[in-house]
Amino acid sequence: MSDSTQRTRVVFSPEGIGRLALGWLVLSVMLLSAANAATDVERELPDDPLDSVMWESMANRFFPGGDIVFDQRVIVDAPLSAEDQFFLPVTVDATALETNGLHVEEIVAVADLNPIPHILTLRPLEADAFIGFRVKLQQTTPIHVGVKTSDGIWHVNGVEVDAAGGGCTAPAMAHGISNWMETLGQTRAIVRRESALSTRLSLRMRHPMDTGLADGIPVFYMNEMQVKLADGTALADIELYEPVSENPTLTLKPRVSSNQSALDVRARDTEGNEYVFELPVPDLVVGN
């Protein structure tokens, strides 16, 4: 389970670890130091409140570098039981971290026990630290969300979601429809102004999001999305991965001042198809 290619060295807090285990750790830490001495950053990996068997691996692979703290201010909203293992809705709200001049640099969501754990990464450059998405689950799994603030600290929280099996290895619904290629990239969107500075963008795009794990269906998914202002100012960058549900549906909160009237969205998939569109931002309706 432990990840031999990890860039960071792990030092456990000593509580509850027997002398023998500690001795083994010291030894392995020394070996790792020898291998990675130049790039190493020491950090303590806190115990996972969800007790995931994959926690150490998830932390090292997806939340590298800075210190890690479990933080209730990262709100990870998901049903405790997946009604549909192909579409588990998750909404992450880490806006409470943006105090005292700190801002959120990255939001990384992973499903520990999925064959491909990484769900997505959001860089909310000029957007609230907020994202809604849907994910396919292969089995009951912890979902961890790491939010990196501008001081380099990872604020992590998560939920354990009960799920029936097979969300990642079953073919997308689109493959049951003969003309699915024709609807590829079809887009629906709602943009609403929620305040003088902030908007809500809900976006839904037709795409099978094939994981490559279903028999005979090669990997094919939307892997990049950028939201910008018409003047080119980047508001949000998103990396999407295989576990994002078919027909990716995202909710974002880009910051758009009242003198701006449109968003530019550019998305790409793993075949290099580009999907580019402009979305008008309505004026703020007072009293709405």
Binding site: D77, A78, P79, E83, D84, F87, P89, V90, T91, G132, R134, A164, G185, Q186, T187, R188, A189, I190, V191, R192, R200, L201, S202, R204, N247, T249, T251, N273, E274, Y275, V276, F277, L279
Partner: protein, 324 residues
């Protein structure tokens, strides 16, 4: 308090609360895997076996559904068979106690949800009847549903296999053992919902087109079709409705309550989609106080968001021109 203790307490409180909520509802003993049926004679020689108004659990063994049996002049007619082989076998035993010595002549399946047909195995397949579309749904989705029930109910499901009805119905009525039954072919709760009326007693077996004091479920729902099915049932002559879940209903309250809930559910989800809310945000919509009387309404509302949201997104979110 350690975790195990807390779970134990939570479970025992759950059982107690459910036991208090419904005086006539049966239960289940998870240790012996015995369903504790309570058969209520809701009309002359017509028994309803009321399940608990809960979701599937290891404690209730899936005894969350209403099934029924009717003594007709020459035998017995059964409506729905419960969630497992064990349920079907114990139901058959109960029928033998209430109506000794009479043969089962007909078993109806109202629709393809697992709590309604997985007990079929206990009965002679050639006597199990449903509209062709219900049979098709059981054939195509039955196994996946049974798998999910094994996951939720564990040992209660031991030995259960999908038994597809042996007889397809399309007549407006049929006579069974000297009794006339009217047959209604509707949809909305699922793509095929079958309603049966005993023309002698006037009992209408509505299946899951009607719920009473238990929140409606929507995994295969078409709300528009469901509303029109309720309109049909509203004007259908009857003396009593046995809803798929909840107490028997002499005043048509189950139809009104189900319609009211569906109207609210549809309206509330449309509003959430139009505001660009995520599913999780939509799940936080406050439930109006009048639906507090519906058991498990919080859970069912959350499930309904997942069932219905994407279709509404495709309907309500404006289409955007893209350049590739």
């Amino acid at each position: 308090m350690d975790n195990r203790r807390r779970i134990f307490l939570r479970n025992s409180l759950g059982v107690m609360a459910a036991g208090c909520a419904c005086a006539m509802c049966g239960g289940a003993n998870a240790r012996t895997l015995q369903y504790e049926f309570q058969a209520t004679e809701i009309a002359s020689r017509t028994w309803a076996v009321h399940g608990r108004n809960e979701y599937f659990s290891l404690e209730n063994g899936g005894n969350i559904v209403n099934v029924a049996f009717v003594e007709v002049p020459e035998g017995v007619v059964v409506v729905d068979t419960g969630p497992s082989r064990r349920f079907g076998e114990q139901l058959l035993r109960l029928i033998g106690e209430k109506i000794p010595g009479k043969p089962i002549l007909r078993v109806y399946n109202t629709h393809h949800h697992p709590d309604h047909f997985l007990g079929n195995q206990a009965f002679d397949q050639s006597l199990v009847a449903a509209p062709q579309k219900v049979i098709d749904n059981i054939s195509s989705e039955g196994n996946a549903m049974a798998d999910n029930m094994y996951r939720l109910l564990g040992d209660w499901m031991r030995g259960t296999e999908v038994t597809v009805p042996g007889k397809a119905l399309d007549a407006q009525s049929e006579e069974v053992g000297g009794r006339q039954f009217s047959l209604f072919y509707l949809s909305g709760h699922t793509s095929a919902d079958f309603v049966i009326r005993d023309d002698e007693t006037g009992v209408l077996f509505s299946g899951d087109l009607a719920f009473l004091f238990r929140a409606p479920t929507t995994p295969h729902a078409d709300i528009t079709a469901w509303r029109s099915a309720i309109e049909t049932l509203r004007v259908t002559d009857r003396d009593l409705i046995l809803p798929g879940h909840g107490p028997s209903d002499g005043r048509g309250e189950s139809l009104e309550q189900t319609l009211d809930y569906l109207d609210w559910l549809d309206g509330s989800l449309r509003e959430s989609v139009s505001k660009g809310w995520s599913m999780n945000e939509a799940m936080k919509t406050p439930i109006p106080p009048r639906f507090r009387a519906l058991d498990v309404v919080d859970t069912e509302f959350e499930r309904s968001v997942v069932h219905l949201y994407q279709q509404l997104e495709d309907e309500l979110m404006p289409s955007i021109q893209i350049s590739q």
